[in-house]
Amino acid sequence: MSIDLVIAAILTVVNITTPILLAATGELVVEKSGVLNLGVEGMMLCGAIAGFAVTFTCGDPDLAEKLPWLADWAPWLGVISAAIAGALSSLLFGFMALTLGANQVASGLALVIFGTGISSLIGTSYVGISINPFDSVFPDSLASDPIGKLFFSYSPLVYFAFVMVAVVAWFLNKTRAGLILRAVGENDLSAHSIGYSVIGVRYLAVMFGGAMSGIGGAYFTMVITPLWAEKMTAGRGWIALALVVFSGWRTRRLLGGAYFFGVFMTLELYAKASGFSFLPSQFWAAMPYMMAVLVLAAMSARARGGSEAPACLGKPFIPDA
């Protein structure tokens, strides 16, 4: 294997992993606040269509003549819109699950259906169009040699995903606000009794999760395949959800688990294309899922540093009840 091939394969790994990582990082914060939002797939689709639609509209040649700066900022505006769309869609879940105290599993599933439906509806006028992908913003000279290529040839969203994992780890473990969020997730009644707004904290967490899922969804329509097709996230939201659980609600494992998944899905494709047909194709296809689960399960099984599941996960909080 040449070094160029390895680096090219790493690019594929990053493309598979980044949207899952973004969504999972958001969901981790949501779950740490004691809320189980299963609507990740729906929020990703909302972000995916919003990011695509805004990028396409801002890049419109007629508009660019009047507002030349707009086209330059089109992808950035697309990402921001994706975050807003994801956060707005999460409010639907928030209203049902937090304000009304409805069953969180049912509310989350409703959000998946809602997100799938509304993205398809808005998306009908964007079928069959492509946009310029939101690729690397570094000058080409930086990515001319293999090492430069390894570090400088990704979409800005890839670096954003890494930064957000670090920020979330720092926020949860080192800040007072993070402590409050965890307290709300561990014991909502106590947090409430010492004067914290449980519902308020959870709303913020849910919206953060929505925004991150939205950006994760936008990675599909703006980076991997710059086009819109219904349901194009193809179940990655569910994988993000599973990763949060299997990582034991820990950021570092979440990062590792997401990349395990990406590495094994890429290995699967290379193995197939190289003619390793001694194993059935379905086995290779199941490999990324199996490996991610096995590795994370093995890590969680160790005596030290097991799961950090929040005690109030999925329990509705109804004040004064």
């Binding site: 594929t12 598979i16 398809s120 086009l227 193809a234 294309a273 190289s274």
Partner: protein
């Protein structure tokens, strides 16, 4: 859903009594055939389901007021398809098309409950007195793509992005490989199955993988244009399927397979209307107008375009058959003797790849 109360029941019974004479008159004069469609993907997939939807619309347009047609999209290929198909049958649809391989047993199960409803299962092979099967010979167009790739490839390695190892895909792979080998005997075909019909991110990753391993032409047997976008980015070439996908890859897309379902849908709906419908196995191709290819990319040299056209003409007049012996499989075993053309019954269940296919 309908809110059933005693009062509304009485009301609707009254309305029915009033409407009854009119309904009878309509029924006596000109009965409208209700046709139902079960779709695997969303109608906006710009591929497989999109093409069926186009066929449905063209059928309704062609048969004027004589048919109406409904569809259900995003139906999974598992047990959950049964109630969906049953609902269509119960709600008065007399001709039901189930448009994916994975609905085979579900279609037969529901068909046994509704003997007076005609079912048509796309790409399957199981029949009943009221279940027919139909498919298009898409592999005929793959031979054009194989010819182009074989003539134009500089690396001598070309890629095939597949979904599942089902006969439909296997015959496509073989057709592509055999046509490429006919113009370049040394060509290698790399095959990746992604175990999904629609997963743009994985399709894209698989196309990247094929390109990284040296393929400079990639043909896709999955439902999104994702792979073509990768070809465009990597400055290699590809082919679309289901619809003309040039708009997604103006430089990379050399031509696309067009699935034309309307001739079949029109003929079958007509057959139900005039009472001549019979179960059977229809396998239409280039000569029936069911498989076409999109205009070639302008960048394609004229002699290559002419070679592609020659194959399309050959399919149309029957002078060409890509599965003509000698055919040898991957293990080196001879599958078809020299000069013999494959029979439809063998082609329909083909599960082996020809020599030269890797993967």
């Amino acid at each position: 859903m309908t809110n059933l109360t005693r009062r509304s029941l009485i009301k609707s019974a009254g309305a029915a009594a009033v409407a009854m004479p009119f309904i009878n008159r309509v029924a006596l004069g000109d009965e409208v055939l209700k046709v139902g469609y079960i779709y695997l993907g969303p109608i906006g997939d710009f591929g497989w389901t999109w093409a069926h939807e186009k066929g449905r619309k063209e059928m309704v347009a062609a048969l004027g007021g004589k048919v109406t047609a409904d569809y259900v999209e995003n139906v999974n290929e598992d047990q959950s398809a049964i109630p969906v198909i049953r609902d269509l049958a119960k709600s008065g649809h007399k001709l039901i098309f189930t448009t994916s391989f994975g609905y085979m047993d579900q279609t037969l199960a529901v068909a046994s409950e509704f003997p007076d409803v005609k079912f048509e299962h796309c790409t399957g092979y199981k029949h009943a007195p009221n279940v027919a099967t139909y498919n298009n010979r898409f592999h005929q167009a793959r031979a054009v793509m194989g010819t182009i790739a074989g003539m134009q490839s500089k690396t001598g390695t070309i890629g095939y992005l597949g979904s599942f190892k089902v006969p439909e895909v296997v015959m496509g792979v073989n057709s592509f490989a055999l046509a490429a080998q006919a113009v370049n005997p040394k060509i290698k075909v790399k095959l990746v199955m992604i175990d999904s019909w629609f997963d743009p991110a994985k399709e894209s990753a698989a196309a990247e993988t094929l390109a990284n391993l040296g393929c400079d032409f990639i043909t896709t047997h999955t439902d999104s244009p994702a792979a073509l976008q990768v070809c465009e980015k990597k400055k290699i070439f590809g082919f679309g399927q289901g619809a003309d996908m040039t708009r997604f890859a103006p430089h990379a897309c050399l031509t696309s397979i067009l699935d034309i379902w309307s001739p079949y849908y029109i003929s079958r709906a007509k057959a139900v209307l005039d009472g001549s419908w019979k179960s059977g196995d229809s396998w239409w191709g280039v000569k029936d107008g069911s498989v076409k290819i999109a205009p070639y990319n302008k960048s394609l040299p004229e002699n290559v375009q002419a070679a592609g056209e020659k194959i399309m003409k050959g399919w149309a007049d029957g002078s060409y058959e890509v599965f003509t012996g000698p055919l040898v499989d991957q293990s080196g075993k001879e599958r078809l003797a020299k000069g013999v053309r494959i029979e439809d019954k063998d082609l329909a269940v083909i599960d082996w790849y020809v020599k030269g296919v890797e993967g």
